[in-house]
Symmetry: D2
Subunit: 366 residues, 4 copies
Amino acid sequence: MAGSTFGNIFKITTWGESHGKAVGVIVDGCPAGLSLTETDIQYYLNQRKPGQSRYTTPRKEDDSVEILSGVFEGRTTGSPISLIVWNKNARSSDYSEIAGYYRPGHADYTFDAKYGFRDYRGGGRSSARETIGRVAGGAIALKVLESCGIHICAYTRAIGPVSINPEHFDEEEIFCNPMYMPDAEAAKKAEAYVSEKMHEQDSSGGIIECRIQGMPAGIGDPVFEKLNANLAKAVCSIGAVKGFEIGDGFLVSTSCGSVNNDAFTADSNGHITKKTNHAGGILGGMSDGSEIVFRAAIKPTPSISRTQQTVNKQGNNIDIQIKGRHDPIIVPRAVIVVKSMAALAIVDALMLNMTARIDYLTDFYH
Amino acid sequence: MAGSTFGNIFKITTWGESHGKAVGVIVDGCPAGLSLTETDIQYYLNQRKPGQSRYTTPRKEDDSVEILSGVFEGRTTGSPISLIVWNKNARSSDYSEIAGYYRPGHADYTFDAKYGFRDYRGGGRSSARETIGRVAGGAIALKVLESCGIHICAYTRAIGPVSINPEHFDEEEIFCNPMYMPDAEAAKKAEAYVSEKMHEQDSSGGIIECRIQGMPAGIGDPVFEKLNANLAKAVCSIGAVKGFEIGDGFLVSTSCGSVNNDAFTADSNGHITKKTNHAGGILGGMSDGSEIVFRAAIKPTPSISRTQQTVNKQGNNIDIQIKGRHDPIIVPRAVIVVKSMAALAIVDALMLNMTARIDYLTDFYH
Amino acid sequence: MAGSTFGNIFKITTWGESHGKAVGVIVDGCPAGLSLTETDIQYYLNQRKPGQSRYTTPRKEDDSVEILSGVFEGRTTGSPISLIVWNKNARSSDYSEIAGYYRPGHADYTFDAKYGFRDYRGGGRSSARETIGRVAGGAIALKVLESCGIHICAYTRAIGPVSINPEHFDEEEIFCNPMYMPDAEAAKKAEAYVSEKMHEQDSSGGIIECRIQGMPAGIGDPVFEKLNANLAKAVCSIGAVKGFEIGDGFLVSTSCGSVNNDAFTADSNGHITKKTNHAGGILGGMSDGSEIVFRAAIKPTPSISRTQQTVNKQGNNIDIQIKGRHDPIIVPRAVIVVKSMAALAIVDALMLNMTARIDYLTDFYH
Amino acid sequence: MAGSTFGNIFKITTWGESHGKAVGVIVDGCPAGLSLTETDIQYYLNQRKPGQSRYTTPRKEDDSVEILSGVFEGRTTGSPISLIVWNKNARSSDYSEIAGYYRPGHADYTFDAKYGFRDYRGGGRSSARETIGRVAGGAIALKVLESCGIHICAYTRAIGPVSINPEHFDEEEIFCNPMYMPDAEAAKKAEAYVSEKMHEQDSSGGIIECRIQGMPAGIGDPVFEKLNANLAKAVCSIGAVKGFEIGDGFLVSTSCGSVNNDAFTADSNGHITKKTNHAGGILGGMSDGSEIVFRAAIKPTPSISRTQQTVNKQGNNIDIQIKGRHDPIIVPRAVIVVKSMAALAIVDALMLNMTARIDYLTDFYH
């Protein structure tokens, strides 16, 4: 199927391969009148850009985005917004070797199984460069959210065994360290851990956490289009994600109702909140007005330079050593991708919610 | 939005409330010629039917399904299949009290926030009875999968702190104990744990695991429609699910590439398999031919008879004691719901895959 | 594909066959808070009910609709609305003969070609009874439109060579004659024409016209989701429709720009209208604030009692005489179906339009 | 809504404005392994390219297409195919004047009504240049159809009062005359008629006809996704189309059943065909194996150089004379657009049909 589109009303369609001419995205369904420049988008693309620290691939790409349509005199027109980033540092020769075998932990084998052959250069469509389109589209979603008073904060919660200390949480710190952790001390330890893995020609996994503030209550739907279900799909559609949990997540399995239930409470104005937030801000598929909190488990980069066993296309067992340019840790660069996917899911739900009551229509079309 | 439909080609649309006249589902896009009777569907409905053990709600419903359309002379016709289950033991009076306040851990508050009012009887649309439609639709999906050689096995992996011992795994055992565990010994311990919680007027959570065998490689898509992303959405759209993970799941965060990568290996016929299955059967969003393994975290039943604090519609803080008929543990009855949702996601992906290559079309329309 | 669903936000899914147990529809995405009773829906179903004049099939069905879900205390809840009509006068024996051959002008042959076999009783899924679901769903859409100040008027414009005289147009007259024409004199002539065709064991076609008043400007989209494109699909999805045109329709082919262009004009308050309406109320896919006018061409009932040539399933050329109960003219009963499909397309477009500008979102989520 | 996407499995998303940097399309869901070069696509783009005769706008664009993704070593990979055409001869200054008023017959007014403002340069998104994306996407659909033995032929049937003589039909002739008529004599007369309109500073409408040969029976669906309904939507989504009809179309209104029904007949091998084709190749929404024939009514170009009355944004009545570069007749350049949209609708239906029977699945996944 045409699996490159995400969203119902606010829709993005990404395209492009790691070593093709360019990568890009069409954002369709963006409301008209939103102020938008390339700088707005570049800000987020820079957060995932490679080559920014010794923990990311040395591939040099400035990842400059160009707006090709849908914006006129600085504002969105309601027409599809086409965004493009040219691939400049493609070095396909690095990859000619992998054409003949299947890298463990990669999609090489499954691509061949599905399509009969593949664009093997740099992972082709399954390259992390595909996420450029997500981040560029997400940047626009984030601008829409901002104008609705909604703020998303995503960061590295853990790398390998090193977790942040929630008491040291400092949002300002996030982009001040190469681990994108909101805790400078933990970030240092994480750097040391990643360095160790690099030295061992190995790689590390981690956990990304995302908090969404300012959500009105009632966003999302009660059955298949639960807000948490759409967040789960959005986040699990990112290459290296192996798990998704909201609120207390897997811990609920050992909890009990009397603990896990969040008591409602009203202040003297009758304003309703919850005393705790085990639910993570969503009840019955709809936002409850609390902060939404979810986490994603990110696997270790499959590209490691250690010798690995695998099979070639001829069906022979072989040993390989992967060359090319790779990240020893995916987690930091994936932070903005998680944030982007969350923004896209939330914007779509906000839009769908605008027709939830007949009064909304009669007020609009009085 | 119309959030009651799941699937792209093989689509189900569920409807109905806990204390309305009936609940049901329309299955649209089922291939013609599939042999189908009400017995095929009833078999799975019986697995989620209430009142089967002391650990489930005493509400008495036989949950008899009736086929209203789409089947002719014992076979599906390709037209929508309408399935209905009448609500017989609705006791709305039990619920008149809850009209006025918001039960912790339930969707009462978010329904009011979204829609302005709600059908409060028995949780209305957010009742577990909504899953009857999923299971009835899933039963048909399971028949389609069977005819393609695919087998799904779901079961309770853990209840509270009690986990199965994978070495004692016995598929036959699953429906022989009220915990739906594939390990009789663990099931006994789990029963004891749940009994304890019941005694404490409390409830327990747990973990459901699902294994999909016989999957061909290449099913699913590489970007937004990753098979794992659709499984995540399918499973997280079930009421009590707070987390989803595939393969090693959250454990990958502390693993490293050299361990987490599954080496490919070929036998003497050139048939390719993986030596391990940390990935859980999906690479790059497409099945890799291994068993697919995922888990869902299920929260403790929010309806507990203990006194709880909450807020009424007037915005006053009050203490409540929930009456009505409830399950002290959702997990066992949710097993077949998880299995059904998995089946629906897989069938849809199998169908979409049939147009992945131009050869498939030219062979079909030679 | 699951081809039984229409709409994006306001969605209907119809099900049921002519001689099955029942027919029905799920309306999903209806806003909460709309006052709705079975009487509201029955009103429109009665307009398509058979057996009301000598020009319709003598099959006796009261077509009583029952609401099974989605309405609580007289108002829609935002959950799917399940509507059912039981088939009471099914006489399948009338149809056993047609199991073996392909009726000209019917879908018998194409059903077998697609699905390998068919529910042949009364045309199965392709029976006019399928439109019960459309009309029941359309009734709800019409209520939504009413609350937004939009009025739809559909009627028979022509039967065979007999057309209404636009100068005699009288909306009140429409349901006062069995032809559903807004011109009593033309209706008399049309009756005479249909009687003649009945006498000749033949049938007649006609044209249905539809006018939509009170449309705000700007509804619909500029590219693939043009309002006229969605109206065209909605209307051409009705069984007997062979053509669709909007405004001057096919006449534009012989017109010229200086005539076909509608001049804009402003009154002293700066309120903009068009001096003429050749466009039929839509420009560039979006409503222009004028009345929307479209027409549908309806083919003659294919079931005629005259001897016809055809082929049986064994591939032999045979002569047949169709028995069973049939309408000599489909047009009048299709009027409410056209109106329903128009209402569904318009409601969906109104809802989608509510997110067209960023101001709409910021005002809503201030 | 995101209204720039067409199709379910084989999906195109177009983007771009008349005077923006470029226009383009993403084709997603194209099967892997299809041989594809830029030349394949350019062939069709050249048929709609401006500046080829005195009857088209003098705007000079070579409309060279570039493939940016989804093709590797000359074959489609199954990943989205991004196609771009740069706008080279944009002369926005021609259009600065129209920023302030609403051109009759154009979308200027409705764009402002919907979005609050518009990219007025050359009609912005509603320019005929938007159809470049449709034709580029359609070119790929046509290649897929070719490989399935399906051939589409579209041409000008009438311009103003000048119709082709069906007895002189010559497919080879179509692109040999600037009117794209399959009848050289009619084309000459049409040229004379258009010249006359040009001399009068006026424009002409016409009719495009499309024939689809080699269709297997059973393609399409019986209810809302009827093949004719999707063709209607596909074709009516083209800017200037005001009507769509299939087979005998509007003529059925004055026909009768005994004439309009197409008798089935079998040859000595039991192969079934129809003796006539009043139905236009579709019965009950599914192809019947005959040639599919439909027609589209195209309105006269709204841009005429004659003085016209309209309103400016301040709400004053004014007289205008439209400058810029325009076609006196849209019909010939729209021929390939109609053909492209037909191809897209057909490919999608072919793909969806591959899962219509359970045998198809079991054979595929034996």
